[in-house]
Symmetry: C2
Subunit: 484 residues, 2 copies
């Protein structure tokens, strides 16, 4: 276990956290019981119910603003792609052909459902990009994509999923490289500030990169149970695709040239990562920045019902005016049942108000993360509520970061590697690799572990490959893990 950071949450985690080997079972149960998703009628598909879709809407809203702020414009391209376009880029084709779905009309195949949209976008980019004045071209679309999956898993791997895919075209290699990193960093801010997740950023190996890319950058989140999930990618396509799809522009120098391209994407998978990371035995814990309901007010009925309701509504108005998402639960159930319901659904903050609280000019706040209950004077309600939400948001990120650090293990020998990867909560295994594809495949065959990424920001160091003992191929350590 990495000793870099001592977590101040260890006690709590031991109390509330779901046991590593129960995480999958917990996740599958809770996403259904909390009314987020249901199974779709066709193989490997899911239905997002209102509470689940509200999470995706929030992703679209927050990330959408960041995308717009980067000067990228939204577009929509067709879901059906003529097959010859998709197979034109050889590597790209080999990566995706096994996952194709073909679309037939009454008489014949009319195309393939998009597994990603490079192949349908770039023939149009060829038309739109003629001169250096048309560059950079920066577009994005929010859409459904389709890839066959042998082991479907709600949000994480489904035959159809929702995502956004950004596609940029630049005149120079330098701008393009900057673009790749800027969009990756945009994702990182979104993970840190909104989803309260702390994925490790780095490059993919040649074996794991996007088919057709020069290189792929990725965010790898370590989830409870100690397995990794790729939560975003930003690819440097170089001129590979512009050459294949014959995109050329007239440069300032008067010469025809191939532009450089990036594509970058993030899917509803991030919702799965968020749910599984923050939840505990009592149910979901939603980061306040994501929660469809941030605050639920529970009027406790007493001798002065009307006054309690009136006060609850006034608090709701006060907090809504701050831009907070507030609900009053006026159902007839006893308070305990209502507490349980909203805790289970992950509402970050509960406010209880009864006749006695009115007398005392206060409410009772209950923090979903810490389970702390404490009185809050009405006079301080705005500040008090915002402080609690801010502290939950911050603590969730800190917990996620600590969990990743505590479960990142430096391994020195192949024996240790195998022992750890087969343990209950394997985590990230930090070590050296020779850089050869066959050796990487061998590790995967023997242990199911894949090379998740070559992290950015690691110091330069030399060592020998954990598997074959040849000299390291990367000038630094890198991370292996089992995939979700």
């Amino acid at each position: 276990m990495s000793k870099e950071t001592e977590s101040k949450f260890s006690r709590q985690e031991l109390d509330g956290r779901v046991e590593p080997d129960k995480v999958s079972e917990w996740y599958n149960r809770i996403i259904k019981e909390a009314g987020l998703v249901d199974q779709g009628p066709a193989r490997g598909t899911i239905v997002l119910r209102p509470y689940g879709f509200a999470l995706w809407k929030q992703v679209q809203k927050v990330l959408g603003l960041a995308i717009e702020g980067s000067g990228v414009q939204d577009v929509y391209f067709p879901a059906i792609i003529p097959e010859e376009l998709l197979t034109r880029e050889k590597e790209h084709m080999e990566g995706f052909v096994p996952q194709f779905f073909r679309v037939h009309d009454k008489n014949r195949v009319i195309g393939v459902l998009r597994p990603t949209s490079e192949a349908v976008m770039y023939p149009l980019f060829k038309k739109w990009v003629q001169s250096h004045r048309d560059l950079p071209l920066k577009v994005n679309q929010w859409c459904n994509v389709f890839r066959d999956e042998l082991r479907p898993y709600a949000f994480m791997r489904t035959l159809e999923f929702l995502w956004q895919e950004g596609h940029c075209v630049y005149a120079s290699a330098k701008e393009n490289e900057e673009g790749v990193m800027n969009f990756l960093k945009m994702y990182e801010s979104f993970f840190n500030n909104t989803l309260a997740l702390a994925p490790i950023l780095g490059k993919k190996s040649e074996k794991e990169k996007f088919p057709g890319a020069i290189y792929t950058t990725t965010g790898e989140a370590l989830l409870p149970g100690g397995k990794a999930l790729q939560v975003c990618t930003s690819h440097n396509l170089g001129t590979n695709f512009s050459q294949t799809y014959e995109i050329q522009f007239l440069g300032r120098d008067g010469k025809q040239q191939y532009p450089y391209q990036t594509s970058w994407g993030l899917s509803w998978r991030v919702i799965g990562a968020m749910l599984i990371t923050h939840g505990d035995k009592k149910g979901l814990i939603l980061p306040p920045e994501m929660a469809p309901v941030q605050i639920v007010i529970i009027p406790i009925k007493g001798t002065s019902d009307e006054e309690v309701i009136r006060r609850a509504k006034s608090i709701k108005d006060t907090l809504s005016d701050l831009g907070l998402r507030v609900e009053i639960d006026q159902t007839e159930e006893r308070p305990g049942a209502r507490y349980y319901y909203h805790e289970f659904r992950g509402v970050p903050l509960r406010i209880e108000i009864g006749a006695r609280d009115i007398q005392n000019n206060q409410v009772i706040t209950a923090n979903r993360l810490t389970s702390e209950k404490s009185p809050l004077p009405l006079a301080n309600i705005k500040e008090g509520v915002q402080n609690i939400l801010t502290s939950i948001q911050k603590s969730l990120l800190e917990k996620a970061r600590n969990f990743t650090q505590e479960n990142t293990h430096d391994v020195e020998s192949w024996e240790e590697f195998k022992k750890l990867i087969n343990s209950k909560q394997p985590g990230f295994l930090r070590t050296y690799h020779c850089g050869e594809r066959a050796c990487e495949q061998q590790i995967q065959n023997e242990t199911k572990a894949t090379l998740r990424c070559i992290p950015f920001g690691y110091e330069k160091s030399e060592g020998v490959c954990i598997k074959c003992g040849k000299p390291s191929g990367y000038e630094q350590k890198l991370l292996f893990a089992k995939a979700y």
Copy 2:
């Protein structure tokens, strides 16, 4: 021509309006040249470029708020539907089978691409609806749907299109009927207030109703060229689908019963209707409520460039603070070229500012609809600009309404019917019909005209069928037209 209303726009229309027989050509050219759409690589598909997609985003934003305000929650259901679900409702199947696309994985057919989502949603509704306490269930989704089309036409008819589809389940027939009409009225407000369109609301005939519905209500817009387009629908499904998909609930009376259902939808087709209705020979005219850019500011360079730019930016800030969408065009082109460009793209209001205007503490406004140019004192800029935008929005609706009225013709004989329907701009033919499907089909076979709707709000009247002479089957007149 109907004499009910004399249009005050007649002169202008004759000046700027595209000739009836040139409308299609004009439309096909302008949507490409204005950078709204491009042809997709697969048959019958289109690409929405940033300026075109911005229009759909605005539809989603404005209509989305109205949908949310009706207590409807957004969800997402899979695009792939097992075929046996889609063919379970017999009439529904017969309506859609010819337009199916089948999806194949490597080995077999895994389903059909949704032409609409009743068949994939209702098996889940069966799970979710158990008791009267689960009702009403009101959900909506924004998604892509797929229907084969013999004559694709940008926005109007494409193999894949974007839409929203709402689906509600109610305990009683009465609530359900109210739901059908409320959502139709929600659409009407959206057409009138946002798109500046004035579709005629009414019921579809048995022949033209949604496959499987008890009845279908519709909005029928009359477009330049005198053809009609169905721009929205709201269906009363009664218990037809709940019986087929075995949705049952335990009523207050303790008995199991079938709930009543509605579905209602509006697609990107409304963008086509809006563009074709308002444009003129100079290009697009976008209603201010829809325009991605409502105001373009053109700094006219003079002796005091910097001051002009500074002033333009300050005006932009002032207007942006009002929530208006403003752009400054600082390109190097001569003013005339910039005027032409933004006029062509339909920007409702242009503001010109030069050195002399600064001296006079004014700007020059140019109204895209009336072509009027006039000075506006800087002191009145907020009010002045808002007045112009409001008047354009209002005038466009009035024009659309007048066009519909002027092109609605009462016809008394089959000869007159045939003559009008074959004229350059046929319009709505208002007459009686016997109500028999075979006769309706006969009219369609002979003239290509279809029964667009039995309008709401027409007075009761009796007459004989325009085609066969039998007594009227509807107790009122109704509208025939050629379809777009």
